[in-house]
C-alpha cells in the first residue's frame, strides 16, 4: 500500500512548501528598529505628512469647506477602491497593517517628498530649455510618468525590505502597488481640488472644486491605482522573489507600460490639440485600454497564487472536507466560481454554494496560519465548511 500512503504525505509536503513560499499567514511587524528600510520609510512618510498638512492648514482659512468636502468625497471614493482591491486579493492575503503601510507611502512620501518636488523642478527646467508653450503642452506627459511611477514603485522595493516574508510574488507587487497608487491618487486629488477651489479668486471654492472632484473620480478608475499595480508587478518580476523567478524583460515591459499609460493620459490635451470632440473619446479609449491591460496583468500574475491555494487545499479534498467541484471553483477564476454557484440550482442553494467557497477560503487561511498543522482553529474551519454545506445554523448565537 505504498502509493496511497505516499500520496497524502507528498500533498502535505507540497502544502508546507506552498505556505512557506507564499508567505501566506505570516505576520507583519511595522516597528523594526534594526531594519534600515523602516527608518527610511518613517523619515519620508513623516516628512510628506508634515508637508501635506502644512499645505492644508495654510489654505484652510480661505478654502476650508472645499478641503473638507474633497477629503470626505475622495475618502469615500478611496474606500470603494480599497474594498475592491482587497476583494481581488483573495489568495495569500496581505495583512491589513502592511496594506496601510503601502497606502501611507503613496499618500505622503511618494507624493509630497518625492514627486511634487521633482515635478515642479523638471517642468521649470523644460520651460527654461524648450519654452513655456512646449512645457505647457508636453511637460506633464514627460515628467509625471517618470517621477511619479518611480516614487510610487520604489515603495514596493521598500516594502520588500520591510516584509520580505510577505512580498513573494508578482501578484503581491500588483496588490501592494495598487494600494500605494490609491494613496497617491487620493491625496493628489485633494490637491487638485484645492487648486480648483483657489482658481476663481476664492469666490466660490466649493463650486469651483466640484467639477474637478467629479472629473477626477470619473477618470480616476484608470489612474494611479492601476498604473502602480502594473508597475509593482513589473518591479517584482524585475527583481525576482523566492516564489517568483526573475523575468527582467517582462518586468521592464510592465514598468514601461505603466509609464506609457500615464504619459499618454497626461499628454491627451496636446495630442488632440485641445479639440474636445477628440479629447473625451480619447479619454474613454485610454480608460478602456488601461482597464484591459490591468486585467491582463492580473491574469498574468494570479496563477501562482491560485497554485498556492490549490497546494494548500488539495489535502482537504483527499480528506473529504472539500469536494472536487468546490476545489475547482476555489482555485479557478471568477467564471469557475460563477459556474459553480449556478450549478447549485435555486437562489438559496447558490447563496449556500458561495458561502461554502468563503468558508473554504477561511480554512485555507487557518491552515496557512498554522503552517499546515492541525490546530483547533483548523478543525473548526473544516467543520464550518461541512456545516454550511449541510445548511445547519451557526453555533454562534
Amino acid at each position: 500500500m505504498s502509493t496511497p500512503t505516499t500520496q497524502p504525505a507528498n500533498d502535505l509536503l507540497t502544502r508546507a512548501g506552498a505556505i512557506e513560499n507564499s508567505g501566506w499567514g505570516r505576520s507583519f511587524t511595522f516597528y523594526q528598529p534594526r531594519n534600515a528600510a523602516f527608518w527610511v520609510y518613517l523619515a519620508l512618510v513623516v516628512s510628506g505628512a508634515f508637508k501635506f498638512f502644512s499645505l492644508l492648514s495654510s489654505s484652510a482659512g480661505a478654502y476650508g469647506e472645499a478641503i473638507a468636502l474633497s477629503l470626505v468625497l475622495f475618502g469615500v471614493y478611496g474606500a470603494i477602491f480599497w474594498w475592491f482591491t482587497q476583494h481581488i486579493d483573495r489568495y495569500a492575503r496581505q495583512p491589513v497593517k502592511l496594506i496601510v503601510v503601502a497606502f501611507l507611502w503613496g499618500s505622503f512620501a511618494a507624493t509630497w517628498v518625492m514627486a511634487a518636488n521633482a515635478n515642479d523642478a523638471i517642468l521649470s527646467l523644460y520651460a527654461k530649455t524648450f519654452g513655456q508653450a512646449w512645457a505647457s503642452d508636453w511637460g506633464p506627459g514627460l515628467t509625471a510618468p517618470f517621477t511619479e511611477e518611480i516614487a510610487k514603485g520604489i515603495g514596493v522595493l521598500l516594502l520588500i525590505a520591510l516584509a520580505s516574508r510577505l512580498v513573494r510574488t508578482a501578484f503581491d507587487g500588483f496588490i501592494l502597488g495598487a494600494f500605494i497608487g490609491l494613496g497617491f491618487q487620493i491625496f493628489e486629488d485633494v490637491l487638485y481640488a484645492l487648486n480648483s477651489a483657489a482658481s476663481q479668486f476664492g469666490a466660490d471654492p466649493v463650486g469651483a472644486a466640484m467639477p474637478t472632484i467629479i472629473l477626477r473620480m470619473v477618470f480616476g478608475v484608470a489612474a494611479h491605482t492601476l498604473y502602480s499595480a502594473i508597475f509593482g508587478a513589473g518591479l517584482v518580476y524585475l527583481l525576482g522573489r523566492p516564489a517568483e523567478p526573475r523575468r527582467v524583460g517582462r518586468g521592464l515591459a510592465l514598468m514601461a507600460t505603466a509609464m506609457l499609460l500615464h504619459g499618454l493620459w497626461d499628454s491627451a490635451g496636446a495630442l488632440t490639440q485641445g479639440k474636445n470632440a477628440l479629447l473625451f473619446p480619447l479619454f474613454f479609449v485610454m480608460v478602456a485600454a488601461a482597464l484591459t491591460l490591468v486585467v491582463r496583468v492580473f491574469r498574468m500574475t494570479v496563477p501562482r497564487e491560485r497554485q498556492f491555494l490549490s497546494d494548500i487545499l488539495a489535502p482537504e479534498v483527499d480528506r473529504g472536507v472539500i469536494t472536487d467541484e468546490e476545489f475547482v471553483a476555489l482555485c479557478g477564476d471568477h467564471k469557475a466560481r460563477r459556474a459553480f454557484r449556478k450549478s447549485a440550482g435555486g437562489h438559496a442553494a447558490r447563496k449556500r454554494a458561495e458561502y461554502v467557497l468563503e468558508a473554504a477560503a477561511d480554512l485555507a487561511d487557518a491552515l496557512a496560519d498554522s503552517h499546515g498543522t492541525n490546530t483547533g482553529r483548523v478543525e473548526f474551519a473544516r467543520s464550518e465548511v461541512s456545516r454550511i454545506r449541510s445548511g445547519q445554523p451557526s453555533v454562534k448565537l
Binding site: N35, A36, Q132
Partner: protein, 223 residues
C-alpha cells in the same frame, strides 16, 4: 483507509520554529542593522534625495533667459493680452505668437526684473471690478501670515488703453511694496499683482504702469 494513511494525514510535516519579525541572524548584523536591508533602503533614500533635493537644485542653478523683446505680446486664456516691458524676463506664460498645441493659453503670466515681479491671472468671475478686488482682498486676508503682503483698503479707478475699467490699490508689508489691480470683462476676472523691494527703480515702476494699461481683451474669445 489504512492506519498508516491516517497517521500521515493527521501528522503533517513539522515546521521549524519561526522567529519573530524583528529577529536578525547574527551573521547579517551590521552596526545593529540588518545588512540585507541596507541596500534597498539606501536606494530608496538616494532616489528621494535626487527627487527632492538634487533636481530642484539643478533647476535653481539654471536661470531663465527668456527676455521680452520689442513687439512681444503675452496672451492668457480667453483672449486676455498685455504688452510686456522690454528687458523683463518671462518666467511663466506664453507669447501670443507661441500658442500651445493644446489650443488653450495658460491662465497666468509672470515676468521678473531686478527683484520686481509682475503677474497677470485670469479666471471666470461674476461681478464687477470692485467686487473682484474685494474678493482678492478677502482671500488674501484669509491666507495671510505675519509676513504676508496686505492689500490696502483704499482703491482708485483705472482704465486701460483699450477701455477696460478696473480698480487698483496698494499691496505691502514691512520690506516690499506693490500694487494689485482688478478688471472684469465679459465675465472674466483679471488680477494683476506686482511686487518688489521698497526702493525699486522708477523705470521699473513705469514699466509696471505701462503693462497694466496695456491689458486688453480680444473680443469673441472665451465668452
Amino acid at each position: 483507509m489504512t492506519e498508516t494513511e491516517t497517521t500521515v494525514r493527521d501528522d503533517p510535516p513539522r515546521t521549524p520554529f519561526e522567529p519573530e519579525d524583528r529577529w536578525v541572524p547574527v551573521d547579517r548584523r551590521w552596526f545593529g542593522l540588518d545588512r540585507v536591508t541596507i541596500i534597498p533602503a539606501a536606494i530608496v533614500l538616494a532616489v528621494a534625495i535626487v527627487m527632492s533635493i538634487l533636481i530642484p537644485a539643478v533647476n535653481n542653478s539654471v536661470a531663465y533667459d527668456d527676455e521680452v523683446v520689442a513687439g512681444d505680446v503675452m496672451e492668457l486664456k480667453d483672449g486676455i493680452t498685455f504688452v510686456p516691458a522690454v528687458g523683463w524676463g518671462i518666467t511663466d506664460g506664453v507669447r501670443e505668437t507661441d500658442a500651445p498645441v493644446s489650443g488653450s493659453f495658460p491662465q497666468r503670466a509672470t515676468l521678473v526684473n531686478s527683484g520686481a515681479l509682475f503677474t497677470v491671472y485670469t479666471a471666470p468671475f461674476a461681478g464687477d471690478a470692485n467686487a473682484l478686488l474685494e474678493q482678492i482682498k478677502k482671500t488674501s486676508d484669509a491666507l495671510a501670515t505675519a509676513e504676508s503682503l496686505r492689500v490696502s483698503g483704499d482703491s482708485s479707478s483705472i482704465t486701460t488703453a483699450s477701455g477696460i475699467r478696473g480698480v487698483i490699490t496698494s499691496y505691502s508689508n514691512s520690506t516690499a511694496d506693490g500694487v494689485i489691480a482688478a478688471f472684469v470683462v465679459d465675465g472674466k476676472g483679471i488680477e494683476v499683482v506686482s511686487t518688489g523691494p521698497s526702493d525699486v527703480a522708477p523705470t521699473i515702476t513705469d514699466d509696471i504702469a505701462h503693462m497694466i494699461v496695456s491689458i486688453s481683451h480680444r473680443a469673441g474669445e472665451g465668452s
